[in-house]
């Protein structure tokens, strides 16, 4: 009925690897990027571990003029977009400006920038607030800055659904391509590792307070007691399949199905999966691997595991959670899982779920600490956002 939409470029910034090559070589062997938080003194806070991106020097990648007006999240986003475009072999200047869009997700905006300006306001006075505060912190900033840097004037936007946003942004991008836009930069990067953001993250009540990086984020494990936050995410280049073919682009795979639901009388995750499979015109048996949301909160783990067993059967499909190596990247998490799914399908290797000792009673075939070779044609990526958001996306190689 509708045009096929494919992914032709990936831009990844993650705690266990900056850039697709480093990220995948770490992820495929189970190398974790979780460690003690160093960005500020974490001693006063219950949670002390994070997935920090090391070795990212914005000055090496971005013009000096952009630095005073950007938060870490925007710098990472701009660089991820540059890398994704380069990976796709696209030079935006060569394309009609109105044919390119940018659709990102954000969970909480540019919190570190905001902290600095709030401190100026309340410790010194309103005249000390930066001229850049009016946009540097807000949820739309990454989309705006990417569109300006790359001259993209097509349909653009921002969706905010907490940690489900990465998939929702890609789905909205697919919608725009089906309506005629040639190319959309889509996905999400998040970065909240400042003390003000850290306090915000704590108030979710879902952070792990463990101090051993190997025991802190253990989804589907009896010991599960919250997650470790991380920074980063992925931006993807989406194009219409025929246009990508026509320009001889390398294609990672197709965005084959998607659905989003909200929890109500019962959790909406199962319905999201079923609708996404219907949208992809696939049966559960067609799915070769599931990238789980993997909340590592007992009630949420139970709901996800029960849902997977209901849809796929007892140990009916391999399930993995490579985010155990990065921490949860908020809006960036699902976008990174999506990128990881394409890399996994490309190599025929399901990346591991590290640290977790899965509880048998969940009935999941959780891929453990060793990656598992497998022929992968179809992957399902799940994401849930605080408050009841569920998103499911089916991708096909």
């Amino acid at each position: 009925m509708t045009a096929s939409v494919v992914v032709t470029g990936l831009g990844i910034t993650a705690p266990n690897g900056l850039g697709t090559k480093d990220y995948w070589s770490a992820t495929r062997v189970g190398k974790s990027g979780i460690g003690p938080l160093t960005r500020f003194d974490a001693a006063p806070y219950p949670a002390k571990l994070a997935g920090e991106i090391d070795g990212f020097t914005a000055e090496e990648h971005l013009p000096s003029r952009l630095l005073p007006q950007t938060d870490q999240v925007t710098r990472l986003s701009l660089v991820a977009a540059d890398w994704a475009l380069a990976d796709a072999g696209v030079r935006p200047a060569d394309l009609p400006a109105f044919d390119m869009g940018v659709i990102t997700a954000s969970s909480a905006g540019g919190f570190e920038f905001s902290q600095h300006e709030l401190k100026s306001l309340w410790s010194k006075g309103g005249e000390y607030v930066s001229a850049y505060q009016s946009f540097a912190w807000f949820y739309a900033v990454n989309t705006g800055q990417i569109s300006i840097r790359n001259g993209m004037k097509g349909p653009s936007g921002v969706v905010v659904t907490d940690q489900a946003g990465g998939l929702d942004a890609v789905a909205q991008a697919r919608r725009q391509i089906r309506k005629g836009t040639s190319l959309v930069v889509a996905g999400a990067v998040d970065a909240l590792l400042c003390s003000w953001g850290w306090v915000g993250l704590h108030t979710s009540g879902r952070l792990s307070t463990a101090d051993d990086p190997g025991r802190a984020y253990l989804p589907f494990d009896e010991r599960a007691a919250g997650h470790v936050p991380g920074e980063g995410g992925a931006l993807l280049i989406l194009e219409a399949a025929d246009a990508a073919r026509a320009r001889g682009a390398r294609v990672y795979g197709e965005i084959a199905g998607y659905a989003a639901t909200f929890d109500g009388r019962e959790p909406g995750l199962r319905k999201a999966i079923e609708l996404a499979l219907t949208d992809a015109d696939l049966a559960p048996s067609d799915v070769d691997v599931v990238f789980a949301d993997a909340a590592a909160e007992p009630e949420l783990d139970r709901i996800e595991a029960e849902t997977l067993v209901e849809v796929f059967g007892h140990r009916g499909v391999p399930v993995t959670a490579p985010k155990t190596m990065t921490g949860r990247l908020y809006a960036g998490a699902a976008a990174l899982d999506l990128a990881t799914a394409f890399l996994a399908m490309g190599e025929g290797l399901i990346p591991p779920t590290v640290h977790t000792d899965p509880a048998d009673h969940y009935g999941l075939d959780l891929v453990g600490t060793e990656a598992r070779p497998a022929e992968l044609r179809t992957a399902l990526v799940l994401a849930r956002g605080h408050g009841g958001f569920n998103s499911a996306m089916v991708v096909r190689s």
């Binding site: 003029r65 630095l67 005073p68 007006q69 000390y128 930066s130 001229a131 850049y132």
Partner: protein
């Protein structure tokens, strides 16, 4: 007490601190050329000038006319505008 002054070097310092260095090294040329180059050609937009004006006001304890941003389109005009405030009679 000596009169405070405001020079091209002061302007450059505050521009760089508040808004970064323009691509193409627009601030690095011959001082006489830089003084008469439009800010937009150097690589600074109105936001950069607003940020710069705000930093100058804080650092020098002066209150620039709001028209400075729109009217002073070159470093020379901007420096002159700041200088006028620095020498204004205290009474």
């Amino acid at each position: 007490m000596s009169q405070p002054t405001f020079t091209l070097d002061d302007l450059k310092r505050i521009l760089l601190e508040g808004s970064g260095a323009p691509e193409g090294g627009g601030l690095d040329g011959d001082a006489q050329d830089v003084l008469d180059t439009e800010f937009s050609d150097i690589g600074y937009d109105s936001l950069a000038l607003l940020e710069t004006a705000s930093r100058i006001e804080r650092e020098y304890g002066i209150d620039l006319d709001e028209s400075v941003i729109g009217d002073a389109t070159t470093p020379r005009a901007f420096i002159d505008a700041v200088g006028d405030h620095l020498v204004a009679p205290a009474a």
